[in-house]
Symmetry: C2
């Protein structure tokens, strides 16, 4: 059994991004520039955005943080989005979700210029993903593809079972892995809460992507000997052993599943560390105009 | 075994569209209006477009056919698309594919206003389909959903195997059937040319969507007793028995597969007759502003 080390891969990818930024600056061009819009003071969102800004510093990007209080109007926020769309100094930007209830997340997402949508949430970019065209792939699926690449995990012709059909993880991952590319060319099955014979189908999988959001959902009896398991779960469960009073639990019962696996991601330290790195990849692509010419 | 009669369902759906058009006109509003742009004189395209115009007449839509010779420039065609986008008298329009090689189909498709894209080929509409948002679903998948609805075929929790991952049939159908709706909520597996254990996986299917483009690809040994089979194949094969010298062959070996099925679509007369009817459904939705408010 080989542990997939997301921290290591993340570090390697960030190092190579930093090297590219150095080259860009050596050519006399400006560094890639990511802006982040944060509304309110949600603890999770604060941490995510702070880590994104920190990652920018690490790879040499310029970053700008724009803050609003919870009572910002939808119109004000949309005007800011339009301003960022039109600002040639900004290569890409994100509006951290969730937003307060009086603001339509859909409207905000659809107002972002697809060319600057480094989160990959705009329907046009999701359409391009579905069509197999160049696009900004959202953070978690892109992170998993990077892990598969780094560890040279064979996917061609393999049966991948994705548990969960969410728009930001299960759905895009299932599409990406079944497309004609490397990693890809998998036979892909999408399982979800309504699926019959779920365990039986899981047992056929060469690769399992667990993105169901239920701690320890995947047990040893659902996993074939030698399978590759990617665990996207990050549920906070109470714990006496940590200062914070909680710890992260994955969707996979790690202790009993891992001995059967050829490769498995731990939680934490597997898929998680890759997500912000994926945002850095997309920001670099936006700056280089790799997706939209 | 019950034969799924696409001609019958198509007729019923068109009848109900015609009734709605009558009501629209009775209210003093204008009839829905579809425009079709046809470039060159490809025999298949001529027939398709002629049938679309005929279908418009049948349901009471206004239709406009715009023709160009093969040597039309990309710029001229794009200007026409922009003109149609801006023409308030046109509810929806299609540019018949394929286009001559000197014109980028991608550019043309992406220039169509998503609100008038009744073919459902614009990346934004495909993105909405992927996200489960209201959208123009392209003709073949939408036709199959209508057939499943008409025959009250249970899909919830069932295992649907889609053979083929094309952007206009296999991919969207696989996404639609795995989403939380009715028909839908299937466990969906996408199989393709690189899939290992293809026959074995097919045998597990409660529903098979054959969209691989290879005549008689699906044989009796690949089909479970009681399965539902939707055959999207329409390959022309030489025939001595027809005046034209060819006949349509599906992707399913009908004679040996059909006795095992609970429901099956014949070729011709199954999925085929539904496609133009789906375009009529989308045009009505565009006129009623059901997708984009």
């Amino acid at each position: 059994m080989q542990l997939i080390d997301g921290k290591l891969v993340s570090k390697e990818v960030r190092k190579s991004i930093a090297e590219e930024v150095t080259k860009i600056i050596a050519k006399g061009e400006r560094a890639p520039h990511l802006a982040a819009v944060l509304v309110g003071h949600d603890g999770g969102s604060e941490t995510y955005v702070a880590n994104k800004i920190k990652a920018c510093e690490e790879v040499g990007f310029t970053s700008t943080l724009i803050r609003y209080e919870d009572n910002v109007t939808e119109e004000e926020l949309l005007n800011k989005v339009i301003e960022l769309n039109n600002n040639p100094e900004i290569d890409g930007f994100i509006v951290q979700l969730p937003l307060p209830k009086h603001i339509s997340e859909e409207k905000v997402t659809e107002t972002i210029d697809p060319r600057k949508d480094v989160d990959g949430f705009h329907p046009q970019n999701i359409g391009r993903l579905t069509l197999g065209s160049p696009t900004f792939v959202s953070a978690t699926p892109q992170g998993m593809l990077e892990l598969l690449k780094y560890y040279n995990i064979a996917t061609n012709g393999k049966h991948c079972v994705v548990i969960g059909r969410s728009n930001i993880v299960g759905r895009p991952m299932s599409i990406l892995l079944s497309q004609k590319r490397e990693p890809g060319n998998c036979t892909v099955t999408v399982l979800h809460s309504r699926s019959e014979n779920l365990k039986e189908i899981c047992r056929q999988a060469d690769i399992i992507v667990a993105a169901v959001g239920v701690p320890e959902f995947v047990t040893a009896d659902m996993v074939k000997e030698g399978a590759v398991v990617l665990d996207v779960g990050t549920t906070r469960v109470p714990s006496n052993e940590t200062k914070s009073g909680w710890r992260l639990k994955g969707d996979v019962k790690f202790d009993e599943v891992s001995p059967k696996c050829s490769f498995i991601t731990p939680v934490p330290g597997g898929v998680g560390p890759m997500t912000i790195t994926s945002l850095m990849i997309n920001t670099l692509k936006a700056a280089n105009k790799e997706i939209y010419k």
